[in-house]
């Protein structure tokens, strides 16, 4: 009964309810605008919601998160430009459907699939998070150290094409997190006598710079991208269509949730894997994949929304983010005086179930907003980058200034923006750097505790292989390291290449299918296009 009260809290409080609704509404539009990601939106929100109550801030952030992940599909269907990386697979069949004058039907079925996926993800979160959490109470500092390392490694290696670049980015983040006074001895580190640096680098400033400003600079490289407007008809889907595809929706949602629960594996990976899985398992689609198959929309869309619930599992139970957005949410909760992890479940169960309630509500609002207001939507997503990008800079400036009311922070944000831009130009993922800054204190604290508890480094290393939990974690890390480097990377690359290639063959229009990938991966892919085409040719040869 108590749990139900906690879950119903966002529903019973009109203000929290309104915040979830506002978040979903804004999220759909933010997600649909190419270049505005969930990570950027949530990182900006962290600064604006600094002084708010935890529940209000969470209501808005959860709403935005759900809205953005879904919103990416809108522009993928209508413009052939995924608003978010998680919608890359959606464009493959969504855009061909739109070209056939069935954009409304595509949006309708996508909305329902997303909502079902969202509900499945939340169900898994509600059932499995308490189990994981009760087990995680047995973790020692040594295990937390390994978990933090695992989180960094996963985000670092799965996020980009090079594991070493991802890891370097993560280590750079941890190093930046060391700036300031040492928490135990109050000795200044890397401050160079600068008073501003004594308090350390504010990760919200770094976050907005690395995600917001750098994205604006990167988007400038492709500021003249043209959009093709599509005609929209009725979007409420036929119940028979939904019922017919329900097994695929549920299956994809479950896969999406599991992938989402893996630290570092986000909606983009889930969408690609389930798209491939749908292609293998759906024997006779009404329309071939790549030409507007409904199954090609349902599988990735249900999976990427289910990922949200999955991503919350490691975040709330272990304090390890499932993706870059949950990494920022960890930061947001820390600002509000909470430390996500096993103790959070026992200490503040109300907050855990509140998040579940907010996620459930967000999915209800997703259904409402997803099936309405499409006419206005088509206008908003066509906002020229010339207006959009300077506006993001202004928002970033306000967001950063609002943290400490300091102009210094704005200059630091610009500096991080330039660093992030350079990193993106040379294909270094920026998310691990932000995660590194956030996890730096956790890593150092648990390293010290583990060394003190075990006496010295050798005993600590020895205990890592003699204690069952530590040993399992080490084995998982080793497995991840090996599998990511070889299997998963090749697997996802093959799926990507194969899907693009087959879509090209089916549509006979390479330009249409190239766009979503170039857009989602960022403009630095420009130089990779010949390589991709070449690999596709060799794939066809196989």
């Amino acid at each position: 009964m108590e749990i139900l009260t906690y879950i119903a809290a966002p529903l019973l409080n009109p203000f929290w309810l309104a915040m979830v609704a506002l978040g979903v509404f804004m999220g759909i539009y933010i997600g649909a605008i190419p270049g505005l990601s969930a990570t950027m939106a949530v990182s900006l929100l962290v600064s604006f919601t600094y002084g708010w109550s935890t529940n209000t801030a969470l209501a808005l952030m959860v709403g935005i998160y759900c809205g953005v992940v879904y919103g990416g599909s809108r522009s993928a269907i209508l413009l052939n430009i995924p608003g978010a990386p998680a919608a890359v697979a959606t464009a493959l069949d969504g855009y061909p459907l739109a070209k056939k004058g069935m954009a409304g039907k595509a949006i309708g079925i996508t909305t329902v699939a997303s909502v079902i996926g969202g509900f499945v993800g939340v169900l898994f979160l509600a059932v499995f998070a308490p189990l994981v959490s009760s087990f995680a109470i047995k973790f020692s500092p040594r295990d937390y150290l390994l978990l933090a390392f695992m989180g960094l490694m996963m985000v670092g290696s799965l996020g980009g094409r090079s594991i070493s670049k991802g890891m370097l980015s993560a280590v750079l983040g941890v190093s930046l997190g060391m700036v300031g006074l040492d928490a135990m001895t109050a000795t200044p580190r890397f401050t160079f006598g600068n008073v501003y640096l004594m308090s350390g680098i504010n990760y919200v400033v770094a976050m907005i710079g690395l995600f917001g400003v750098s994205e604006v600079l990167t988007q400038l490289l492709d500021k003249d991208g043209k959009v093709i407007r599509q005609k929209l008809d009725r979007i409420v889907p036929d119940f028979r269509d939904v019922a017919k595809h329900l097994p695929l929706t549920i299956r994809s949602s479950v896969i999406g949730t599991v992938i989402g629960a893996l630290p570092g594996a986000g909606g983009d990976l889930a969408a690609l894997i389930t798209y491939d899985q749908a292609k293998r398992t759906v024997k006779n689609p009404e329309v071939p994949f790549g030409q507007g198959a409904m199954e090609g929309l349902i599988a990735p869309e249900s999976a990427n929304n289910a990922c949200i619930g999955g991503a919350f599992i490691p975040m709330l139970t272990l304090g390890i983010p499932g993706d870059s957005v949950t990494a920022i949410l960890i930061g947001a909760l820390t600002i509000h005086g909470l430390q996500p992890g096993p103790t959070m479940m026992s200490g503040t169960p109300d907050l855990f179930y509140y998040i579940i309630g907010a996620l459930l509500l967000a999915n209800v609002f997703l259904l409402i907003f997803g099936l309405t207001g499409v006419k206005i939507f088509t206008k908003i997503v066509e906002i020229p980058k010339g207006i959009l990008l300077p506006s993001i800079i202004i928002l970033s400036v306000i967001g950063v200034y609002s943290i400490n009311n300091s102009l210094y922070d704005i200059f630091w944000m610009v500096g991080f923006g330039v660093l992030g831009y350079f990193m993106k130009r040379y294909e270094y993922p920026v998310a691990p750097a932000v995660l590194g800054i956030i996890l730096a204190s956790l890593i150092e604290k648990n390293f010290r505790r583990a060394v003190i508890m075990d006496g010295d480094i050798f005993n600590m290393l020895l205990s890592m292989v003699t204690h069952p939990i530590s040993l399992v974690l080490i084995l998982i890390i080793v497995f991840m390291l090996v599998s990511q480097q070889r299997k998963v990377k090749n697997f996802t690359k093959d799926i990507e290449d194969k899907n693009v290639y087959e879509a090209e063959v089916n549509t006979g229009d390479p330009e249409d299918t190239e766009a979503p990938f170039a857009e989602a991966k960022g403009v630095f892919w420009e130089a990779d296009v010949p390589e991709k085409t070449e690999s596709r040719k060799s794939a066809s040869g196989r």
Binding site: L168, G386, L389, I394, L395, Y421
Partner: protein, 157 residues
């Protein structure tokens, strides 16, 4: 087709390598002051060493690929790097951002500096219709002030 390194890609790895060496050098000093594993220099030292290892690997790995800069002299290479990193649009907007921040640091209020930045950026990026850009600027500013300042009570610079 073999992947080609972008202009400056190895150089960027080298910069990170230098940063790693610097962090390690500073951390060694810290470790000497508190030479225990739980001391405040240990984790920075590990980070510095890992930065050196990863950036060194990336730098050396770069020699496996052909560079777009191959066959060019140093000046041409430098030009290619600058062109790759700072296309004109990026350079101009970045300059606008710096000027905008500098104006606020010099005491120009947000409500005065921001419309100027917005309008100038829109004029540069859209290259037409100054009056229409004025309207967009006013709309964006009105939205920001109403939503963030009035609605969310955010303190503006």
């Amino acid at each position: 087709m073999e992947r080609k390194l972008r202009p400056g890609e190895k150089g960027f790895a080298l910069v990170l390598l230098a940063l790693g060496i610097f962090i390690t050098y500073m951390s060694v000093g810290m470790y000497r002051e508190s030479p225990t594993l739980q001391g405040y220099g240990t984790i920075p030292l590990i980070c510095g060493a890992m930065m050196i290892a990863f950036s060194g690997f990336i730098f050396l790995d770069g020699f496996r690929y052909k560079s777009e800069n191959k066959g060019r002299n140093v000046v041409e290479q430098l030009k290619a790097v600058l062109k790759h990193l700072f296309p004109v649009d990026v350079l101009v907007i970045f300059a606008f951002i710096v000027i905008y921040c500098a104006l606020m640091a010099l005491g120009v209020p947000f409500v005065a500096a921001s419309p100027v930045f917005l309008w100038c950026s829109m004029m540069y990026l859209r290259k037409r219709q100054p009056l229409r850009n004025v309207i967009y600027t006013v709309l964006v500013m009105a939205f920001i002030i109403l939503v963030f300042h009035v609605g969310f009570h955010v303190v503006l610079p």
